[in-house]
């Protein structure tokens, strides 16, 4: 009796398994993409993840992280690899590549632009690295609430560091990159010389001295979604922010936040693939897809970040309100690009000094 039930049950299960086998194996293909959360992750889910899932059948899960390479290094060090693809900045991409955390990406695999331009020419400079492919460029800016400050908001980086003229707290990312550059610029260093000065111990001290003048007024943030929240709650009068998050808060939460463009530091974001993961092939497929012309152009619908490919930039219609907010639009005020090589070589020492300065 039992034997018969067992064998017939087995047969049913077996038949079902065979019938659904292709379905099961396709459903099992899944990759995890770590990115910066908030409006930025939303834009990636809409422009990259969803079309990729529809096209390939690979499920894409997204997780948030803080941008620190150490989270990847910890996964590799313990052999417990949870992410497949990671969105990071070029300094971390170079450093992680050198430390063997990432897969090498063959640039000849990158598809040509939609207009036929070969990938090597289509991507902006510095967007193709041995282990990472750029997707967008964003700007680090100072933002403030126009509803509270009106026309009397800060006009320059010097104003950001001037607590006498603009009393109140300032939000700053808890990370030496960007704020060290800003401190030197506000202290009178020309943008072209910032990294030369910052490479010397005296330059680092100079930046910390400048930061000391506002230290008691700083509220530190760690996630990109925090600056708009800090502005909204009135906790800070102005804040270092990623410009897309400010635009997003204005659109979605009907805020009247203003962006002060002077001193903006532009930094690309890139995709890299963790070495030793179980889904390297699918992850590679994802990265090649996400950095192709159409997805990069589509992303601008959701967040005003500049696509890494020129062919994508050409595809953003003028009707897209985000177009006016792209960081590569010419604007008054100083602007510069981050020096990835500098941060790759110095981030370890700079983090150590920064942590010690913070604790004092």
């Amino acid at each position: 009796m039992f034997k018969r039930i067992n064998s017939s049950a087995l047969a049913v299960v077996g038949a079902a398994a065979i019938a659904f086998l292709p379905g099961i194996s396709a459903a099992q293909q899944a990759i995890t993409v770590a990115s910066w959360g908030g409006a930025y992750t939303v834009s990636q889910v809409e422009a990259y993840h969803k079309p990729f899932e529809a096209k390939s059948g690979v499920k894409v899960t997204s997780v948030d992280y803080s941008g620190a390479l150490s989270e990847v290094a910890a996964q590799v060090k313990t052999g417990n690899i949870k992410w497949d693809v990671i969105d990071l900045e070029p300094a971390e991409a170079l450093k992680g590549c050198e430390e063997g955390l990432f897969e090498k990406i063959d640039p000849s695999k990158l598809p040509a632009g939609a207009d036929g331009t070969p990938a090597a020419k289509d991507f902006a400079t510095g967007m193709i690295l041995p282990c990472a492919i750029g997707n967008i460029t964003y700007a680090n800016v100072v933002a403030f609430d126009k509803a509270k400050m009106g026309a009397n908001g800060p006009k320059s980086l010097e104003d950001f560091f001037n607590v006498g003229k603009f009393p109140g707290k300032r939000g700053i990312k808890k990370d030496p990159s960007v704020i060290m550059e800003w401190a030197l610029i506000a202290d009178g260093v020309a943008m072209a010389d910032v990294y030369k000065v910052l490479a010397t111990p005296a330059g680092v001290d100079r930046a910390f001295k400048k930061l000391d003048t506002i230290k008691s007024s700083i509220v530190w943030w760690t996630a990109g979604a925090q600056p708009p929240a800090l502005l909204a709650s009135g906790e800070v009068v102005m804040t270092h922010a990623w410009h897309g998050r400010i635009v997003d808060a204005n659109v979605k939460e009907k805020k009247d936040f203003a962006v002060m463009w002077d001193g903006q530091i532009q930094i690309p974001d890139m995709y890299a693939i963790l070495k030793g993961g179980k889904n390297v092939a699918a992850a590679m497929e994802f990265v090649l897809f996400a950095t192709s012309t159409q997805p990069l152009a589509d992303q601008a619908k959701y967040i005003p970040y500049a696509p890494a490919r020129n062919s994508s930039l050409a595809k953003i219609p003028d009707s897209n309100p985000n177009k006016a907010w792209l960081p590569n639009t010419p604007r008054p005020g100083r602007s510069m690009l981050t020096n990835a090589q500098f941060w790759m070589e110095n981030s370890a020492d700079m983090n150590k000094k920064f942590a010690a300065w913070l604790a004092k």
Binding site: S70, K77, G100, I218, G234, K353, A356, A359, K360
Partner: protein, 408 residues
């Protein structure tokens, strides 16, 4: 005689059987504690002095340096450079060079660059002479400094992490001295941690003692109701309570809005992201740990003792101080010790409600664990905290007596 020996033998046997049964009963708990507490703790302690990155990554170099054993102010001879070239080629092949470079950089800022510059080029070079090759890759290789650092790290067990946790370091010439001034932070942080924990304990005693006294002297029904109010926050998640304080204390939060509406203040008070916010929230969170042991001890103090003291002529204050208070000591001691030790290890509340100068030692354990990836230093910091707690417990035992503790 015979039967007596037999009897005691049987008794012992029965006792042994009972003991075995008792052991079997606690075995699951013991295994759980071993897996979840003793083994991780042991690993942490091991990590704090066992660090084989350099001897494993550069085995030939370490051996060649030991063979040469020259003075620390000189650069080593060619065979050491050749050994390093061989090690470096293998490390690059196995992609281990990054972790070696990072390990050297932890000891001495700037060595990552020196090491990586050589690592990037070494595979392209077939043969020596190696000393000029390394010097061309980075002039740092022609200085005795980096060799001193490698020699400091040559043994897989060392005390460098403990030195670093106590703001000292082993210099490249082999002597022990203080860290550079801008890197000396840990002792300040240990003192800060002690200070915050003491403040919170004092606040808990000040607030908890009258509350426990009230609870112990009310009618049972009212006391139970109030006790539930004490316990209610106890049942809420730590994170929820911490973020609730953020809402209450922030610039446009409940308290500031109220005070401004009442025109008591014109500018919002800075109540959060500073020491004040940390102490307030930690006191609130830890208060039940103080109230509960005190309450249970106070309830058991017979009222007749104080009455007897009064009838013998003691004033109310004398009766309280000389008769009532000494009987509260077991509860007070237990509560204070519990609150103090829990407060020492607090992480999430200071991280969320404190400013950058209010972070306690566990924050730096976490930073070194997940941001700087310096697990050795994190382990040493944690081991020193553990040692401090044990010392404090021993001191308490000496002064008050641990047998006197009463947790409820």
């Amino acid at each position: 005689m015979d039967s007596e020996a037999n009897l005691s033998q049987r008794l012992r046997k029965a006792e042994r059987r009972g003991q075995l049964r008792a052991y079997a009963l606690i075995a699951p708990l013991f295994i759980f504690v071993a897996l979840s507490f003793l083994i991780p703790l042991g690993t942490v302690l091991l990590n704090s002095f066992y660090d084989p990155v350099v001897p494993n990554g550069l085995p030939r170099t370490v051996r060649a340096l030991a063979d040469w054993n020259g003075p620390r102010d000189q650069i080593p001879p060619e065979p050491v450079y050749a050994a390093l070239a061989q090690d470096l080629k293998e490390a690059v092949q196995a992609e281990k060079h990054g972790s070696i470079a990072n390990r050297l950089n932890v000891e001495e800022s700037g060595l990552r660059t020196v090491f990586m510059r050589a690592a990037r080029r070494v595979s392209a070079q077939e043969d020596g002479p190696w000393a000029p090759f390394f010097e061309a890759a980075d002039p740092g290789w022609a200085q005795p400094g980096i060799w001193g650092t490698i020699r400091n790290l040559a043994s897989p067990t060392h005390s460098l992490f403990y030195l670093s946790a106590l703001d000292a370091k082993r210099n490249q010439d082999g002597s022990v001295g203080p860290q550079p001034e801008d890197q000396r932070i840990h002792i300040t942080i240990y003192l800060r941690t002690l200070g915050v924990a003491l403040t919170v304990t004092l606040m808990c005693i000040l607030l908890g003692f009258p509350l426990a006294y009230l609870l112990a002297h009310l009618r049972d029904k009212t006391a139970n109701l109030l006790l539930i109010l004490v316990l209610l926050p106890f049942w809420t998640s730590l994170l929820v309570r911490t973020t609730a304080w953020m809402v209450v204390l922030q610039k446009e939060g409940v308290i500031n809005s109220l005070l401004q509406a009442l025109h008591l203040i014109s500018e919002p008070l800075p109540l959060v992201f500073n020491r004040f916010g940390v102490v307030v929230a930690m006191t609130h969170i830890l208060l039940p740990f103080m109230v509960l042991p005190m309450y249970s001890v106070m309830r058991q103090i017979p009222v007749s003792y104080v009455r007897a003291a009064r009838s013998l002529g003691a004033g109310p204050l004398t009766a309280f101080i000389r008769v009532y208070l000494p009987q509260c000591i077991p509860g007070l001691g237990a509560g204070a010790l519990l609150v103090f030790i829990l407060a020492l290890g607090y992480y999430i509340t200071p991280a969320l409600l404190g400013g950058s100068t209010d972070q306690m030692i566990s924050y730096f354990v976490e930073t070194n664990m997940s941001r700087s990836l310096n697990w050795g230093l994190a382990s040493a910091l944690a081991a020193i905290l553990l040692g401090a707690v044990l010392v404090l417990y021993a001191a308490y035992d000496r002064l008050v007596g641990a047998n006197n503790l009463k947790l409820g």
